[in-house]
């Protein structure tokens, strides 16, 4: 840069010490953008430890692997870093999981747009999505951070609640969006919501005595049998989703919630490990 004017070295030193008056500070700061020669005057005035410390932190950040998309998204939402990492390590909060769930919902939606029986399939399947998600969110064999979690000074129940809430929220949003495309936007578009809560809590409650995956499978089988039986007996496929069914689901939510709060310490003992 060919600038003829250069800052007075004494003024630069006073600037570094915060003692230069405002007008000359403005002038100097504007000049520093354009003049490498005057910028270089500042380097020897810096504390070498500060320069070295900041550089070592830059190297560390540059060497660290980039967080996964889900983790970056969570951080962007303002979640603390450790919680974002914890949630991003949840198998059922990965993009691949969402893709699989989206595909399954898509097929169910196609069926539901076809005929009434298809609608029953959609309604029966939708509440099982958070169940599968929660089962895949913790437990040995699936959770990649399981071994770390066992040794971590965090209550397993707390970890479970954080992850289950996130999985449940993500599943409900996804399913809710797909349900908007159902042929008729009446009560059937939300009829799966309460069963979803009930089945998820039931799975967690059963997990206090059994491993998460078998618990989820058991709950899911029970659910499918119940929906089919009610449908067959009443002659109406969606009978299980009428008022009585919804009230029953509410009951399950209450009972399962009670069991969970009573037996929360069971997760810290990890009964299945």
């Amino acid at each position: 840069m060919n600038t003829r004017w250069h800052a007075d070295p004494a003024a630069v030193a006073r600037y570094a010490g915060g003692e230069l008056d405002e007008a000359r500070t403005y002038s100097l700061e504007a000049h520093l953008f354009a003049c490498g020669q005057c910028r270089a005057l500042l380097s020897p005035l810096m504390e070498p430890e500060v320069v070295a410390r900041v550089w070592s932190e830059i190297e560390e950040a540059v060497d660290a692997p980039r967080p996964a998309p889900v983790e970056r998204f969570l951080r962007h939402l303002g979640l603390p870093d450790h919680l974002s990492r914890l949630l991003a390590a949840t198998p059922s909060l990965r993009l691949s999981w969402f893709a699989a769930v989206g595909a399954a919902l898509g097929f169910a939606l196609l069926a539901a747009r076809g005929d009434h029986a298809g609608l029953v399939v959609f309604l029966a399947m939708a509440p099982l999505i958070p169940v599968a998600g929660v089962a895949a969110a913790f437990g040995p064999g699936i959770d990649p951070t399981y071994e770390i979690g066992v040794a971590a000074p965090v209550r397993s129940f707390r970890l479970l609640l954080i992850r289950s809430t996130a999985v449940l929220a993500a599943s409900l949003v996804l399913t809710g969006l797909v349900a908007l495309a159902l042929p008729r936007l009446d009560w059937t578009a939300v009829a799966w919501l309460l069963p979803a809560f009930a089945l998820t809590l039931a799975t967690l409650a059963v997990s206090t005595v059994a491993e998460p995956v078998p618990s989820a499978v058991g709950v899911a089988l029970g659910w499918i049998v119940a929906v089919t039986l009610v449908g067959q007996l009443s002659g109406d496929g969606v009978a299980a989703f009428h008022a009585t069914g919804q009230v029953l689901c509410l009951g399950v939510v209450a009972v399962a919630g009670l069991i969970l709060t009573r037996r929360s310490e069971a997760f810290d003992r990890r009964p299945w490990s």
């Binding site: 405002e22 000359r24 002038s27 900041v54 190297e59």
Partner: protein, 190 residues
């Protein structure tokens, strides 16, 4: 290779880095050359640290912002459009990171470390008069609040909204203070 030969080679490598222009170094950073980032850091971290610490009194925040800035330079060297100078581009990243950092902190962080007016000596007053006309005196006589707004917009290149976020005041206040600052300067120069 013996040690002195290695040392000589290291020195020549360093010398070559310091000869490369900012633009060339940025291009090398885009090719994942760590040494080029180091050279940019050595060249630009000192003034960035100083300039930011005149806008935020918390050295921990300032150091974090400088760190973030150079990590951003490493990740996206191509976002330098080549319009302004490289230092101006680096400053743009740095000051906006500082605004982000301050937004997440409580308002108790003292944003301006030098709120008191630093009076130039009588001799300097004369020199300043020679150098800048009455403008310098008028700038120095502005209240710290008015000066801060002028500095954030005119010198730091921030929009009024960004300036408001940096200073912790509403955008409307930035606007009125800027108008008052201009009026006072105009009056002093008239």
């Amino acid at each position: 290779m013996n040690r002195s030969a290695h040392a000589i080679r290291q020195m020549s490598v360093k010398a070559r880095d310091s000869e490369r222009s900012d633009e060339v170094l940025l291009e090398a950073v885009a090719h994942r050359e760590r040494r080029a980032l180091r050279a940019l850091y050595e060249r630009h971290a000192p003034w960035l640290l100083l300039r930011l610490s005149r806008r935020c009194s918390d050295t921990t925040i300032v150091e974090e912002v400088v760190q973030d800035t150079f990590v951003a330079v490493w990740r996206k060297p191509r976002s330098y459009a080549g319009t302004g100078t490289v230092p101006a581009w680096i400053w743009g990243i740095g000051i906006r990171r500082l605004i982000d950092q301050l937004r997440h902190r409580s308002a108790t962080v003292r944003r301006f470390p030098f709120p008191t007016r630093i009076e130039p000596s009588a001799e300097e007053e004369v020199l300043l008069g020679v150098e800048y006309g009455d403008l310098a005196g008028a700038l120095n006589r502005l209240s710290p609040e008015l000066r801060a707004v002028l500095q954030a917009t005119a010198l730091d290149g921030l929009t009024m909204r960004e300036a408001g976020r940096l200073l912790g005041i509403p955008t409307g206040t930035v606007k009125t203070r800027l108008m008052r600052a201009r009026a006072e300067l105009r009056e002093a120069l008239a």
